[in-house]
């Protein structure tokens, strides 16, 4: 029986650093989110520091055109945040719980062996799927991007699209480590 990484939280953050969407996913073994929604919000907000300073250093070095920021930081031994920024300043954050899912024989009994790690770029698929979902959202004529990230630079509404929410849920639940990176 092994604990493998799973997605604990998907966050979409707007151009004004405002939360657009947050989905939480349950973690093993309690089958409940590892932290409270508030804690996840604070966690997502804390990644903005890293987005800011990395894009600053990217701007000066000219790198980072792909928008994939890779590992932003590991909050502790279990949770780690990965980031992606589109060229319109929308940020996708994936919080991975390194022991979020238990696979193998005899689930629920016995000891859990330490989790496997992640390779670099293993989050690319997730980001691609999130971006595709976001692009689909933008194609909706009733979605007004300016309402969600007003040019005044303060706050903005959250995404209410049910389809987008379902997309996020599907992306988070279907991800397993090791796909598309080996």
């Amino acid at each position: 029986m092994t604990a493998i990484p799973s997605i604990a939280c998907l966050g979409v953050i707007g151009k004004n650093n405002n939360p657009l969407h947050i989905t939480l996913f349950p973690s093993a073994p309690l089958n409940a989110p590892l932290r409270t929604p508030l804690q996840f919000s604070l966690l997502l907000a804390s990644t903005l520091d890293i987005f800011e300073s990395r894009s600053k250093s990217n701007a000066s070095s000219g790198g980072g055109l792909s928008g994939d920021f890779g590992l932003l930081h590991a909050i502790d031994e279990r949770l780690a945040a990965y980031g992606f920024e589109t060229n319109t300043g929308v940020k996708f954050v994936v919080v991975v719980d390194m022991r979020g899912r238990i696979v193998g024989e005899g689930v629920g009994t016995g000891k859990v062996t330490p989790s496997v790690g992640l390779r670099e770029g293993e989050m690319k698929l997730v980001f691609r799927a999130m971006q595709a979902a976001y692009v689909r959202l933008l194609q909706n004529p009733f979605y007004e991007p300016d309402e969600h990230s007003p040019p005044t630079g303060r706050g903005g509404k959250r995404i209410t699209s049910r389809r987008f929410t379902e997309d996020m849920k599907r992306i988070g639940e279907s991800w397993v480590p090791g796909v598309g990176s080996s």
Binding site: P37, S41, A45, L48, D49, S53, H73, A74, R119, T152
Partner: protein, 1203 residues
Amino acid sequence: MDGYAPAYVAHNIPLLVVSGLGSQPEGKSNLPEGAIRIASEIPPVESEDGQALLRHFKDSDAGDLAWNAREYSGRNKFRVKTVGRDYYLPARYAQLPQSALPSSPLSKPALHSPLSPLSPESPLFPDGLLDSKWIEKHQEFVPSAFISFYTFTSDPKLSTLNDNQLKTDINSTKSVLSQSGYKTRQIVALLSEKSIVQSPEVEERLANIRKATGLDSKTSLFFLPPQSSPVELQAFVQTIISTIYPVCIEYYRDLSKHSRRKRNRGIVPPPTAPPTSGTSQTLSSPGWNVRYDFKLGVFAEFRQEMDAAIRSYESGYEVLLGIDVLEAIANWSPRWNEARLLADVFAIRILRCLLWNGNSTAAVRRWQSHRDRIRDFVDRRGKGSATYGWEAWEARWATIMAELIKKASFIEFAGFPLYLQAEKTIPIGERMLPWEYLHHPGYWYRLATRHLMARRILALSIPEEDRTPPGSSPASAIVSKAYTYDTYLCPEPHEENPLPGHRGVDHSALIIDSLKKGIVEFQQKNQSRFLQELQLLAANENMKREAWDEALRILRPLWQKMSYRREGWWNAVEEISWALRKAAVQAGDGGSIVAVDWEMMNKNFTHHPNWHYDLTKSLQGLETIKTKPTVVLHEKDVNSFISTTYTFEFSEGKVGELCSSQLSVKSSAMPIAVPVTMTEVRLNFEGSLKPLVLRHQPATDERIENVGSTSLTKVPLSEIIQDGKASLLGETSLTFRPGQTTVFEFSTALREAGEGTAVSATFIMNTDLFDLEYTHKFEPTTAPDVWWGASSVKKRIVRLNSAAITVLPKPPKLELRFLGLREQYYTNEEIILQLEVINGEDADAIVHLDIRILGDGAPPAELKVPASNDTERENGSDLGTSIGTIASAGSTTIEVSIPSVDLPAVYDISMKATYSLVSDLETPIYRSMAMQLEVTSPFEANYDFSPRIHADIWPSLFTHVEREDVGTEVQAHGLAQKWCLTARYASFAAEDLIVEDVDVQILGMNGGIQSYTNKLTTIPEDGLKVPPKSLEEAQFEVFTQKISLDDRGTATLDVSLAIKWRREQEGTAVNTTILGVPRLLVASTEPRVLAAVSYSTKIPSMIHFDVTTENPSNHFLTFGITMEPSEKFAFSGVKQSTLQLVPLSRKTMRFRLLPSVRGEWIGPVHCVIRDRYFQKVLKIAPTEGMRVDKEGILIWVPPEDDF
């Protein structure tokens, strides 16, 4: 790393004892028994140089360096201990215990180190593993080198005595060292006195000392020459250090060898005396191996050989955690915790070595594996990992890592990265846990904080019976406690969670301490958002321990500046806000309470069903608040539920007009919130608008209560003076209901021109308990601005900023107008323009007029004002005049006269009237007008100049006429010629013009001629009316005569055509337009032929055709003449002949023509005259009544009647 003996965890560096530089107070009290004294009779060196050297030695102490190879590669390599003359070394061997005095001299027990588990007096006796004192001994007491400083005297008388003293002293120190059993190197440094002169004698003395003491001159005996500079002093210290360093390393290598030999021997040495108390067990062989491995590791660290250290430590660690050592110790034994502590020390030292080598990922993995092994071990053998003791250790373990990382001071962490990349030894593409990238210490402190919080939760769940202090609880309870709680490096349950009234652990303080350390790290990395989270945690902890003021000190700035509000993380804002309110209530900060209550009204936040959402109740019943707070909020500081916009109906207005504007206030409060009633709303404007104040007046009718989501109120305004400024005041109901948009409409008079902008609205709420001021700045939003109409009809306003208005100045009502402006103005006429100034204002106006004429060569104009008869004339074309007062609805006419111009041109005339009304003399009003004045030429002409036959006879060369002198006038005697100038002039005017006269004026003659003209065309008495675009002809006879007959030169004539004309209107002035005529060429020396025609008076229809051939030259010329017949006429005369002309003569040949047609041009007349000599046909020039076409001369035959 507190909790472990400092010597256990500190990094080891070679110890150097420097003695004899200044006297140091020596305390013998805390020395171990049997210490070995190194003493000297010679007083310490007290000279200035000695002090400097002492300082340099102290500066080169490496005890505080960061734990990495980079720093240690520098100059500082030693832990430097400075002492006076005396120094004590710890005893090498333990003394025999009194109880075990040798009973028989034969079996003399083996003596061991006082720190060895073999010595009965050692705390480790009989089965302990290690004592931190052992490391201390090597790091603090037993130096690798012992330097003695001595003064090298300069006095030759004393030198022998002094040198002998030195020798004795050095030798005694040497013998003490060698007797001590330690292999410490002895170094001697001699400082020569200042006055000494470098001489062979000195060398000799040094050699003598060396010989007597057996010191190596290269590595053991140093000599500082006299009068050394500060730099030389420093270099001296550096030389000593770098010279003896390899020797000292060798010292530690020897110690390693010693340990390794003992380890390899594999024998457990017998103790000095068999254990008598407790267990009779002695330290097992694997235990000894742990000891030796640890020692080997430490000595390797002394030598800075980290790889060797890791190998030794790892080997010792494995043995320690193996089945033979730790597993073999009973878990109730104090040795169990000691062994566990030793395992931690092993792990800490391994981690340090890994970090030292930059193996960051390996370090994290090692950190995890130690934690996992210990947990596994505690779960199996100890009290489990579900105790507060375990969480306390986890917190400690994370803090240790943080401290180790800090102490290693990675150069990469000075820059941006939050975590280090995996080291090069880890293959690329390996699966890595994110945590295995070494994060900066802040994250580790954060981890420690989490464990501390978990520890508190476990501590709080300790049942009450376990929390009683040991003295007051039954023995059985104590026993059960000992089996339940893990107290490794943490207090007993009764201290961990004390009963009320007892002292114990302050968990919050621990957590806050850990948070504070983390906050420092995150601050360095500019992780401001992470910082806010930690600050919130710290504040919550402070509230838990009821340090309300401290909590408020953290929360208040956090609440004001947090990024969450700006970025819309409402749940975080809410969390911080409620925390602030809670702290503020306790700390008595009324201002914060009101501010939070104001913000929490916003429906963005979670609805708390039990909350009253009534601002007026905010401070009710709170006794902690001493003073009435005044709260000032800005819309940037809070996420206010009230938002407001200001809209002008139109983007422009004029002074004196009324302008409508609306203030709309939208309340997005919680639906169940109590309506908010403001005392006052102040509107501030920028620019030319007055501030506006709205005061609350309770609504008289309740009808308004039921208005839907929008209500529109027109507020009448009155002027007041407030704060020394003129303001507008309106009174209306200022109650704002949740979800409602309240619109106030105002009508204000615009007083001043300029830009006006509504800047902000300030909502003021004065209650008995607090004063609140909320300022909202109007800023352009993305949502289009709306103009509300009655009954909620609204229209969108498409303007950049609807809160701005442009107030235009009052439009001028003074009119400027030209009277009787002509269609066209011409050159050579004086232009007079009538400018009428009409005052359309309601009051009399005092007017000043400026006129400016612009253009190439603008003529100076004149202004004539009827009231004052003086005319204004100024240089250039700028004119200004004061017109005086023009009555309302009155007018004045100004005459602008522009003198005639000679050339056609276009001028710009700009007029500006500056006036002020008698009713308001302050405000100048301007009216300007511009006009283009085009001046064209009325006529243009072209000219025809043809020769005529002069009637006079030519003077003959053969006749001499005596010249009569007639005064001074020159008599012309040359050839006279007659010409005809035909001027055809066309009118280019736009209207009929009357030509009064046409004349030719001779402007000049060249080539010695006299000339005069005669006008042939007559102009009627009252002028010739020339319609536009018509062509008129005027002919003039021109007579010229050479003054001298001998003058054969070419002559020219310059004339001009003057046309006198006037406009058709009566009484207009006559103007003269002078047109230039191209230069006329007269009097040639070439022969010429002129044809003339005359009609016979006797025979009707008979035409005389005369061909006159002139020879003005001085040559005799012969011409051939032929006349060809024609169908149109018959002729008589020579048909072919030769004509010979003497110089200066002419001859006329006459032909009589009888035309066969009437009323028709006949010809061409083929009459050819050829110069015989030059074979050149002379062209026959026609005179009046003839025409020339390309074939020849044509002659007019009048109709029958005219003959």
